[in-house]
């Protein structure tokens, strides 16, 4: 235990000396409602033990996406509007999420200037324990994502989304959302894909936060 404490102290001291601090964001309240729907997913991650480890980011890192414009592959969502995704509201109630149609869909955030990105948090829909398929997150300098694309998360284990096999694991939605460490990738546009979910086949987004330095 003493050794662990020492290692932890040295690591913290090292990170602090590098100007890194733990990234914090405000979590919505837990919102699971109703009876869970059984989940059968091949590449589901095992339950996490303990708290989510913090993502260390440079001092001065801020939420770059708040209030920024959002577009989507579904020009006419089933319900809600794409700009809910960057409105800062993470509630899972009716009326706070945008629901895109079935199959592979994406949403794209324009940070309005090229930035150094250190972390991305995303909440699809967290009022029910469910898994979204083929979650892929990319950063690019090109709004059409045809060049300079960096994939920072991909749990498409069978390449059904057609962007390559990903090594990240599928995960169950909760109020914590999913935190992705990005390590300073530069870009202006962030695109997030999904391909339906284990409850209803549609694609939902409540909020996405892109943290970085302008």
């Amino acid at each position: 235990m003493q050794l662990l404490t020492l290692v932890s102290f040295l690591a913290s001291a090292s990170l602090a000396s590098a100007g890194l601090i733990p990234l914090e964001t405000e979590l919505p309240k837990p919102s699971y409602k109703g009876t869970p729907v059984p989940i059968q997913v091949e590449n589901l991650e095992p339950p996490r033990v303990g708290e989510r480890p913090p993502i260390m980011v440079p001092e001065g890192t801020v939420n770059l996406s708040l209030g920024k414009p959002v577009t989507s592959s579904d020009e006419w969502p089933i319900i809600g509007e794409p700009d809910y995704i960057t409105d800062g509201d993470k509630q899972a109630e009716e009326g706070y999420y945008v629901e895109l149609g079935p199959d592979l869909q994406w949403v794209q955030i324009d940070l309005e200037q090229e930035s150094e990105i250190h972390a991305i948090f995303m909440w699809h829909y967290h009022a029910q324990a469910r898994v979204y398929h083929d979650v892929v997150v990319q950063i690019a300098t090109d709004p059409d994502f045809e060049s300079g694309v960096v994939t920072v998360f991909n749990n498409d284990h069978d390449n059904s989304a057609g962007m390559g096999v990903g090594k990240d694991l599928a995960y169950i939605e909760s109020h914590e959302g999913r935190a992705i460490e990005v390590k300073g990738v530069k870009g202006q546009y962030v695109r997030l894909y999904s391909n339906g979910n284990t409850s209803d086949g549609m694609n939902h987004y409540i909020e996405v936060e892109v943290f970085g330095t302008p």
Partner: protein, 469 residues
Amino acid sequence: MNPIPEDPKREFSLSRRDFIRTSMAAGTGLLMTGPAILHGQASSSVTRDLKVAIIGTGSQGRVLLEACAGIPNIQFVAVCDMWDYSLRYGQGILRKRGFKPNPYEDYQEMLSKESDLDAVIIATPDFMHAEQTNACLRAGINVYCEKMMSNSIDGARSMVQTARETGKLLQVGHQRRSNPRYLHAKHRMLGDAKLLGRITHINGQWNRAVGEDLGWPNRHEIKPDRLARFGYENMHQFRNWRWFKQYSGGPISDLGAHQIDIYNWFLGTPPKSIMASGGLDYYKDRDWYDNAMVVYEYDTAQGPVRAFYQVLTTTSAGGGYFEYFMGTEGSLRISENPAYTAAFREANAPEWESHVREGIVRMSAPKTAAAPTLKPWEKPRPGQAAANAAPTVVDVRETAALSEWELPVQLDKAIHQPHLENFFDAIRNGTPLNSPGEVGLETLATVLKVNEAIAAEKKLRFDPMDFRI
């Protein structure tokens, strides 16, 4: 009517829409179901697409729309909801499925303008079911009505009466009655094989963790005069109607109705008496009992059966929701969640090898310590691994552990889909309904008596007339 404005841009790719519909139609088929009762008049051999409307596209209505996505040869032509948010939602889902439904906020206007409907799906709050069902039946339309059939026995009786008078079909949404696993249990395990011996007791539950009230964003709040016009006191009650007496029968009706329906179905008779305890012990600003514990007594052809049921809304303890039938030779724990379903043979009962050969049960896969009772969304609890790995000391006074068996039938569709298929097949081909109005009435009378028994604080007897019109 205040229809949602048509936007020409929403006429997105026809090819994509056609693709979705084509792919939905392929690979689906109608479920063959077990013995059932036929009521009402069915059109014989309707080969065209059935024209369908839905009234109520809140959370349950959307579940039914999702279940309908796998059913071919139905065409949604109208959608109705008094909340513009839900109306847009339902319309949006159906558009994605390739339909162009006419939107209505008032079901009466829908009935006056949609003159050629074959079927209406009703998924509104319980207090509206009788009025809407009766109006649809009288308009010559077959009805699939979500359970609870009504919030009153008089309402339910009127629905059965109207179905009989009009000769139209009324299916009540007790969807377990069309689930192939439940049909297998009822007809093969308990019927043909009599696997459990004499059933003497039942235990069942639906336990849910604490949940907050449903809310709404300001941008979608309904004005008070409009709420009043549709029968609601305020927005809070509108969103949380399941907890208020003027709209619903409470948790025992919302959750217990599904399972107590199975008690009656599997035993082949409603109960003769009831005792119950419950209360509004935890939540504030709600009407209905947040917990209920019930004992029914049945007289069956094989002898008396005592059946316990509990619905708790402050804990998910005990594995969520299941019905557990206990007999002299074995037990059956069954649930819509296959993970909670298993059969158990008593150690002194005849071997079940012949039943394995006949496809009635199959051997359970060995359980490992790494596959405990954790649900996927649960985190390991402190000490759990150690407890699982610890050697078990068996007290010699205990009955030997029961051998565990699996049911060889699984449902590979949305859980409501077979019940909707049964309904549409009844319209099209005269297939018997699995849950006609008479069944819904019997279940409703059995379930709503719980609230009466809690209030009475004493044992109540059922009159056979309670279950009839």
